[in-house]
Symmetry: C2
Subunit: 131 residues, 2 copies
């Protein structure tokens, strides 16, 4: 199983667990569910990775080259690569090599799923959103 396949499997597994709408506040998460979800949150639980994610997501064309990302931080190349790998293994981004450079783009569907998990808990008791 290649690296790519392994990551695909992670995403599929997570999608299976998260489903389209298993709200955090509707019923307690099982040990397995919380494990899958925690992996995603843990990946986002680092300032550098969060910035990387937003840099990629907000970049023109929806994708960003590693070379664009490295310059933003005072970190070594390997470190950035490490963080990108973590995001990749969490299913949050995908990387594709085109010639010399590697381009990363976000997986919006995963972000949407995570947001869905959070939202019902929010709108349930909070009239602030006032939708």
């Amino acid at each position: 199983m290649s690296k790519q396949e392994a990551e695909e499997r992670v995403l599929a597994q997570l999608a299976d667990v998260v489903g389209c709408c298993s709200p955090l506040a509707r019923e307690p998460l099982s040990a397995e569910q919380s494990g899958e979800l925690a992996r995603v949150f843990k990946a986002m639980g680092d300032p550098v990775r969060l910035r990387l994610l937003s840099l990629i997501a907000s970049h023109a064309g929806g994708e960003a080259c590693v070379c664009d990302l490295t310059d933003v931080f005072d970190l070594s190349g390997p470190t950035i690569s490490h963080h990108l790998k973590v995001l990749r293994e969490a299913g949050l981004i995908t990387g594709e090599r085109r010639g010399t450079w590697v381009y990363y783009r976000v997986r919006p569907e995963l972000l949407a799923q995570v947001a869905t998990v959070l939202e019902p808990a929010a709108s349930d008791a909070l009239p602030v959103v006032d939708a």
Copy 2:
């Protein structure tokens, strides 16, 4: 400054940074923003804490006593207490002592804010939500 005040300050600071809708995909997060947000995600980046959060959120009346939470896990009391503290310091929950027991409840507004940060990135490129 008491424990309670300190936590209030954290929440206020976070609300200030996150605002009502600073979308992750609209523009790159600053170092400060990512730091604040990462703290919340890191708090949710643990299976036990995620389950605790969902247990509290989904509990009848919107609040749960520590005694209810301890039994669910094969963990010592201090460990549960530690995780609750992390969630508290991240602004995700609040604890209140009433007589013998301590009750915890979630802060829906923070969850809503976090979800908001995620969502625009999602709906931006994903027709799946089909709203």
